[in-house]
């Protein structure tokens, strides 16, 4: 190596590091080698413990939540059922995510979902309201159209505009926390399908090609992070389920910023091929994310 080249590259490197330090991105710069995963998969622990490990592997919540930001955590709270029925996201996981957000410096953390069953009963009986409030999150209603504002989806093929919850619209960070479940119409409900809880009129989706609408809405805003709860998994009679007979204990969790990748991995975990789910095929065609998880950089953790 010539001296001039060395100087040049040393100068560039130091400038880069310096810039990084000035911008406060010191951590991620130093550890970028270790945390640059497309997907993190954890198994074997309690939901909150698995999340601690997984988010650490991704470089910590600070990588996603900056100081003073407004965060929305969007679990699935669709049904008036108890946590052991696994129709809703695990409350322990939701609580722990909120804690991580505040520790990373979030100004406010909101928890919201447009429920299917009566919303107050869903919030209460899912255990999510209590878990979120214990972690100091603001639990926000979504039961009335007045909370929603018109948004347009330029890349949507069927769903060109819809109404999204204002608290999500005005958030800096949007964390999508679905539960992995069997689903009558969508085959599986995971991260992409969970976004259906952001909008007011869901009948439009059902009426006009559900799978295309799921993919269309995923083009609207990419969640900052997707966290798939597969601790308890509803294998049959989804999405509401009839009893705990529908549920198996999988003790797993998946994290990714790529919504298609996380859904594809979750589908495999469930025992299906990503190709079995039409909205994943559409999403791949529309280049929303990657379905070819075999080519991704995956961190696998066993607790």
């Amino acid at each position: 190596m010539k001296r001039r080249d060395f100087l040049k590259s040393a100068y560039k490197a130091s400038a880069l590091v310096g810039a990084g330090m000035v911008l406060g991105n010191f951590d991620s710069l130093l550890f970028s080698q270790n945390t640059d995963y497309d997907l993190v998969a954890v198994k074997g622990g309690e939901p909150d413990v698995m999340f601690d490990k997984a988010i650490e592997a991704l470089g910590g919540m600070k990588k996603f939540v900056k100081k003073g930001q407004k965060v929305v955590v969007k679990p699935n709270i669709g049904w008036d059922t108890a946590p052991e029925r696994a129709a809703n996201t695990n409350p322990k996981l939701v609580g722990r995510i909120v804690e991580h957000c505040y520790n990373a410096g979030a100004r406010e953390v909101y928890v919201v979902d447009h429920t299917c069953d009566e919303w107050q009963r869903c919030y209460k009986n899912s255990g999510i309201e209590k878990a979120a409030k214990d972690a100091k999150a603001k639990v926000v209603p979504a039961n009335s159209e007045s909370y929603y504002q018109e948004v347009s989806i330029p890349q949507g093929k069927v769903l060109k505009n819809t109404k999204e919850h204002e608290v999500i619209l005005s958030s800096d960070v949007f964390i999508n926390v679905p539960v992995l479940k069997n689903h009558g119409g969508a085959t599986l409900t995971i991260a992409m399908k969970n976004l259906m809880g952001n909008v007011w009129d869901r009948r439009y989706w059902h009426r006009n090609d559900l799978h295309q609408c799921i993919a269309d809405f995923a083009t609207y805003r990419k969640p900052t992070l997707n966290i798939v709860d597969a601790y308890l998994v509803m294998k049959t009679n989804g999405p509401r389920g009839v009893s705990t007979d529908d549920v198996v204990l999988m003790k797993s969790q998946l994290l990714s910023t790529d919504i298609v990748a996380v859904d594809s991995a979750a589908a495999k975990l469930f025992g299906l091929k990503p190709e079995d789910i039409r909205y994943l095929n559409i999403a791949t065609e529309m280049k929303i994310g990657r379905k070819d998880i075999e080519n991704l950089n995956i961190k696998r953790i066993t607790v």
Binding site: A41, K43, G44, D80, E108, C116, D117, E118, Q120, R121, N125, K138, V139, V140, P141, N143, S144, S146, Y147, E166, H183, G184, G185, A186, R202, R203, Y204, W205, H206, R207, N208, D209, L210, H211, V233, N237, G238, P239, R240, V242, S243, T244, D245, V247, V248, L249, M250, K251, S252, S264, A265, K268, L269, G271, R278, I293, E294, I298, R300
Partner: protein, 518 residues
């Protein structure tokens, strides 16, 4: 004897009940514990008489309590527990403030009209025309007014406040959707209360002593009550002050005669008497003859108990109507669906006084007041509106709070097995057939999987019914996205049926992956 404090106690107690009952009926955030609702509504006389026919429980104590206090103290129910009574007193109070000169005068009691009227109300009720009783039942008149007019107003204020708070990112209050209602229900609720307003403004408690069925029943008891308002001849100066404040028009000061059937024990006369000439005591301690000539006990039997037995008989005779045939008819003309616990449309329609307490307490707003859906005999009675919402599978609140026993109490487990209607699927309108796209909204929402998906064309799946499991909650109908007609409907069961319990095996299944499959 100083008894001036009695009026103050009466005013305090009546305002207490009035405010509590009004709040129970508004119940905007649906968070008032059902036991409190049961406690206060069980004191309502006519609903409790109806309820005790079919259900004897803690709520029956309310009726016993009301009858007992009436035996002891006369019609204190009318002056302190009845919300419509207090409503009238407020009107009378305001009137007195506006026009100080207007006085009440003794009026000859019109027993014949009042008793005949009450008697016919109960006779009509047992013939199936309960709606006429409903129109004159005081608690229901008041509750209909609150639920259909005050509550929506309250919701508007709530929603305005919540949207102001919301713009400041405060989500303490939340928006409440205003329930669908029939304009006639609103208009009639309002006009009846207006009539009461008119009567009380110009004639005091005219309604209570001419039309009110509870007033008639309690009037009979009050004739023989232990404590009574009595004019003490030793102290009375015949000034007539008591007569002028008597809103029940029951004191004739000239003859020192008090009409005990009409006296509502408001104690205004005691308060106003300058010489302690009006007292409240056991009449035998005062040297006064009380006129007890009316054959009161026999009348009471005739007028209150006979109709009650009648309702029983009718109930048992009409209980054998067959379930209506399935047809497209239901999609065109709406048939009422009575809530779980009401046993049958007939039971419900015969006992419901249309107080709309269940309507206001229903957390999903699936119950709504109808105008004419139950026919002329069931005006204003609530039905399930699956366009607005659907019945929550795990909720039993309406069954517990119903003050008349039209909806009988159910445990969560027993309620889950009541089939109030059955799903009917109209394939041609379904998204899966019409558009050849996945949907399954109906099956998604079904809590028992009475609607499940079976293979159709290619990978498509289509809904299939297993109506043995159907409870008729309407989740499928509500969720169905097709317009203008839904592709799945609930057809009411005229007599509620028992649905099959979904099989539960209760075995723990563990599938923690050894290695991730990717």
């Amino acid at each position: 004897m100083k008894l001036k404090y009695l009026k103050k106690i009466r005013v305090a107690v009546s305002l207490f009940f009035f405010i509590i009952i009004t709040s129970l009926l508004i119940n905007p955030q649906k968070n008032i514990p059902q036991d409190i609702i049961i406690f206060f509504t069980s004191l309502q006389l006519v609903p409790s008489i109806l309820k005790i026919l079919f259900y004897i429980g803690l709520s029956s104590l309310g009726l016993i309590f009301v009858l007992l206090i009436s035996v002891f103290f006369g019609r204190v129910y009318c002056s302190s527990i009845c919300p419509l009574g207090t409503f009238q007193d407020i009107i009378i109070y305001i009137r007195r403030k506006i026009n100080k000169r207007k006085k009440f005068l003794y009026q000859k009691p019109n027993y014949i009209f009042h008793y005949t009227f009450t008697f016919s109300l109960f006779i009509l009720a047992l013939l199936g025309f309960v709606s006429i009783l409903n129109i004159f039942e005081p608690y229901s008149i008041y509750s209909r007014f609150v639920v259909n007019i005050i509550e929506p107003g309250f919701i508007l204020i709530n929603n305005f406040t919540s949207s102001v708070l919301e713009s400041m990112s405060i989500y303490y209050l939340f928006n409440i959707p205003i329930r669908n209602t029939d304009i006639f229900v609103v208009l009639i609720s309002f006009s009846f209360l207006f009539l009461i307003f008119y009567m009380s403004y110009f004639h005091g408690r005219l309604f209570c002593n001419s039309f009110c069925p509870a007033g008639a029943i309690l009037g009979i008891i009050s004739r023989i009550s232990i404590f009574k308002i009595v004019i003490d001849e030793n102290n009375c100066t015949e000034c007539g002050a008591c007569e002028k404040v008597c809103k029940a028009n029951c004191i004739e000061s000239e003859t020192k005669n008090i009409n005990y059937a009409a006296c509502i024990a408001c104690f205004n006369c005691i308060k106003v008497c300058p010489t302690d000439g009006v007292v409240y005591n056991r009449p035998k301690y005062i040297n006064i003859q009380v006129n007890l000539s009316e054959p009161s006990r026999r009348n009471f039997l005739k007028r209150a108990i006979l109709p009650a037995i009648g309702v029983f008989l009718i109930e048992n005779n009409q209980g054998e109507k067959n379930q209506l045939e399935k047809s497209n008819y239901f999609r065109v003309k709406k048939q009422p669906i009575s809530p779980p616990g009401s046993q049958s449309i007939t039971h419900f329609s015969n006992l419901c006084t249309a107080c709309h307490l269940c309507v206001s307490a229903c957390p999903t707003q699936v119950l709504y007041p109808t105008f004419f859906e139950y026919g002329i005999s069931g005006l204003f009675q609530p039905s399930m509106n699956y366009t607005a919402s659907y019945c929550n599978y795990d909720c039993t609140i309406c069954t517990h709070i119903c003050p008349t026993g039209a909806i009988l109490p159910q445990s969560v487990e027993s309620k889950k097995l009541i089939q109030i209607g059955r799903a009917e699927f109209y394939k041609d309108d379904c998204v899966v057939v019409a558009k050849e796209k996945e949907c399954a909204a109906c099956s998604e929402h079904c809590p028992t999987k009475a609607v499940y998906m079976i293979p159709y064309k290619g990978k498509l799946k289509i809904p299939e019914l297993n109506n043995d499991l159907c409870v008729g909650c309407g989740a499928c109908e509500h969720a169905c996205p097709t317009t203008p007609r839904k592709a799945i409907y609930i057809i009411p069961n005229q007599i509620h049926q028992k649905s099959k319990k979904p099989e539960i095996k209760k075995q723990e299944k563990i599938e923690i992956p050894e290695e991730f499959p990717f």
